[in-house]
């Protein structure tokens, strides 16, 4: 099986999605001739033409709004917002329209589109290039939110997202674009949206995360292993709808859970996962559920980012605390 990195897996998924369905369009800033600033769309315009792979004007409202219009009008747009820090410019379309159109029109008009956006920090990028805005989107009804951590899942989830009848926001951990490598089947396939992945089996504590932080949790699990602690790592992959069954099954087994993520803790998606565990598995818990997120301040410039975003050491410390509770 060929080994790909995560951005190559995204690229392959886009090629195959465009091959199998002529309604699929790719649009965004620099996605055409340049192949995207991370090369996620490399080769698409050469292969599928400038009518289907479109360099749009530099305008996020326009990119997302016109994608909504294209989707209503029978196409399957896959738009790219170049960086997570530029997503807020288009949030009006996401919050007020993308997920609402199906319900507002009583099912008459639907928005089968994918919004791809790089996610997270730790690549020494300039300001507003290292954000983790998933909670803003997850909070919005009518939308599915995905954030893979392996090349195989990136490909399978992106193909599933393009085929999905509802809008999907697809966060791509930019730290993993080249760092995460793995075997990826050549043929098109779907990784189901709404299903978590058991990244490591354990019995003493559950480390829940998504995106790049799943790898941090695996590293922390290795460190815990040396201390004689068996940690389970759950990679959520889909943030909405959450795989509640997988979360509860793991927590009921281990009795302890922490949720590690890159966004500030307050009002985060980790807080939602924590609340669900507390509401539904209280009697299985041997310790309070912990959120391990970034500090509740803005993302700093990159010299301090490794002190801002939790590393394996911080996950380990939190795990030790709940194990000692």
């Amino acid at each position: 099986m060929p080994e790909l990195n995560l951005v190559q897996a995204v690229n392959q998924a886009l090629h195959q999605a465009m091959e199998e369905d002529r309604r699929v369009l790719v649009l965004g800033e620099d996605v055409g001739l340049n192949g995207g600033v991370f090369r996620a769309t490399e080769g698409l315009q050469q292969k599928f033409g400038a009518e289907r792979v479109v360099d749009t004007p530099l305008a996020e409202i326009g990119i997302i709004g016109s994608s909504i219009g294209l989707a209503i009008n029978g196409f399957r747009p896959v738009c790219e917002i170049q960086f997570d820090g530029f997503l807020p410019s288009g949030m009006d379309q996401i919050l007020c329209h993308m997920g609402r159109m199906r319900n507002r029109t009583r099912g008459r008009h639907t928005v089968p589109m994918v919004l791809r956006c790089p996610h997270g920090g730790l690549i020494h990028a300039p300001e507003h290039h290292s954000e983790s805005p998933e909670a803003y989107v997850c909070h919005t009804p009518g939308i599915k939110v995905v954030c893979p951590s392996t090349p195989a899942d990136a490909k399978g989830l992106l193909i599933a997202a393009v085929r999905d009848p509802d809008p999907v926001v697809f966060f791509e951990p930019k730290l993993l674009y080249r760092a995460a490598k793995g075997e990826v089947p050549q043929e098109p396939y779907e990784t189901p949206i709404g299903k978590a992945r058991q990244a490591r089996v354990g019995s003493d504590v559950t480390l829940i995360s998504w995106g790049a932080m799943a790898h941090t949790c695996l590293k922390a699990a290795d460190m815990l292993d040396k201390e004689g602690v068996s940690a389970e790592v759950l990679d959520l992959r889909t943030l909405t709808p959450l795989d509640l069954d997988a979360i509860l099954a793991s927590v009921q087994k281990t009795g302890r859970a922490l949720i590690a993520h890159e966004a500030p803790n307050m009002g985060s998606w980790a807080a939602e996962v924590s609340a669900l565990i507390s509401e539904r598995a209280l009697l299985s818990l041997k310790a309070p559920v912990r959120r391990v997120g970034s500090w509740d301040i803005r993302m700093p410039l990159f010299r301090l980012e490794k002190h801002y975003i939790p590393d394996a050491e911080r996950v380990l410390r939190a795990a030790r605390e709940i194990l000692a509770f």
Partner: protein
């Protein structure tokens, strides 16, 4: 090197039918008499609807309602220049535009009574629900137009906006997209001079709003927005340009909001009656009636019959609206996703239990079956 003019605005203003009902025949407009009469009837009917809606609101039989009094021409005429399969995206002050496309008034009432079942357009139409956050529909209309261009069957997308909305970034991004990609889009700016309490001159120092179009490489024209002939000429030409692949247009219809912003507003707080009275003299319906009578296309008998028929038809629509049973609260959960996720299934079941309890306790009326797709 001499300094040259890099660009020059070519914004024209079209006026054909004067407020006194005198038509300038030197400007050709291909608008046959039967079509003209149809436009007149719809304008009269929607004005009657507007008046009755305000009364219904005052009687507590309708929610907050946005009046279109004075804007009947700029509402009815542009939408009438489209084919059913063209896309229409009006503003929330858009009951006239929808009516011109055949939407039944009972649904307009139902929507403004706070009932989602009011979002019901004729099946053969490509009508889209308007956006309440102003301007957020403009880039969506660009996407609809983009889709029409890709399909290559000559379809167009038309979106309405107001003078206030022309200040929004959405307008800029929509026009940028449409012009750069030569999309078949038509934007109707209903410049009614007031964005709630903020007058037109505070929105832009530009002499017209139409002239903004040229900056994007789109076509822009201003018309007397109370003049059926001028609107029809400018909009039908814009639609033809779009259909034939010549790109987007902005048609600014200069009209006036004779009433309050909505029934929740009091325009007396921020504007004088002299201005309003001056605009009453430019009424779009009155001037067309004078013209039709002068051309022997209309008379007092026909007017009396129209008023009577329109009132009777409207009364039926009001009765049909009020005959709707209360919505089943479970309808909220339908049509949120193609397949409902677990948390909606749980929450709907919870509401269902609450409703069953209430039916016994509080004599909750018997509810109609839940509508829509679930899960």
């Amino acid at each position: 090197m001499p300094i040259t003019s890099a660009d020059r605005s070519r914004t024209e203003r079209i006026e054909i039918l004067s407020p006194e009902g005198v038509r300038d025949f030197s400007i050709p407009v291909d608008l046959p008499a039967d079509q003209l009469l149809s436009l007149y009837r719809k304008m009269v009917e929607i004005r009657l609807f507007d008046e009755r809606s305000v009364k219904l609101q005052r009687q507590g039989r309708l929610g907050t309602y946005p009046m279109i009094l004075g804007q009947e021409a700029s509402q009815i005429v542009p939408a009438s220049c489209l084919k059913p399969k063209d896309w229409l995206v009006p503003t929330y002050r858009g009951q006239g535009a929808y009516y011109a496309r055949g939407m039944r008034l009972r649904y307009s009432l139902l929507y403004w009574a706070g009932d989602d079942r009011g979002v019901k357009f004729p099946d053969e139409n490509n009508d889209l629900i308007f956006a309440i956050p102003v301007g957020s529909h403009l880039t969506q209309a660009a996407g609809l137009a983009w889709g029409e261009k890709l399909k290559g069957q000559g379809g167009v997308a038309m979106a309405y906006l107001g003078d206030g909305t022309s200040s929004k970034g959405d307008f800029h991004e929509a026009l940028t997209f449409c012009a750069a990609m030569k999309l078949p889009a038509v934007y109707i700016v209903e410049n009614n001079h007031w964005a709630i309490s903020v007058p037109r001159e505070k929105q832009s120092a530009g002499k017209t709003l139409a002239q903004k179009a040229w900056g994007y490489g789109a076509f822009g024209v201003q018309v007397d927005g109370n003049d059926v002939f001028a609107i029809y000429k400018a909009v039908s030409e814009a639609v033809t340009r779009a259909r034939e692949g010549h790109g987007p247009s902005v048609v600014e219809c200069e009209t006036y909001r004779l009433s309050h912003h909505t029934t929740a507003d009091d325009a007396g707080r921020y504007r004088g009656s002299a201005e309003v009275e001056a605009w009453r003299g430019k009424d779009p319906i009155a001037r067309l009636k004078i013209y039709l009578e002068r051309e022997n296309l209309w008379d007092a008998d026909k007017e009396a019959r129209l008023q009577k028929d329109a009132a009777a038809a409207l009364e039926m629509e009001i009765q049909a609206y009020e005959a709707f049973p209360p919505p089943n609260p479970l309808d909220m959960f339908s049509e949120n996703y193609a397949a409902a996720p677990w948390h909606l299934i749980e929450e709907r079941a919870e509401l269902q239990k609450i409703l069953e309890t209430k039916t016994g306790e509080e004599n909750l009326p018997v509810l109609p079956p839940a509508e829509g797709r679930f899960p």
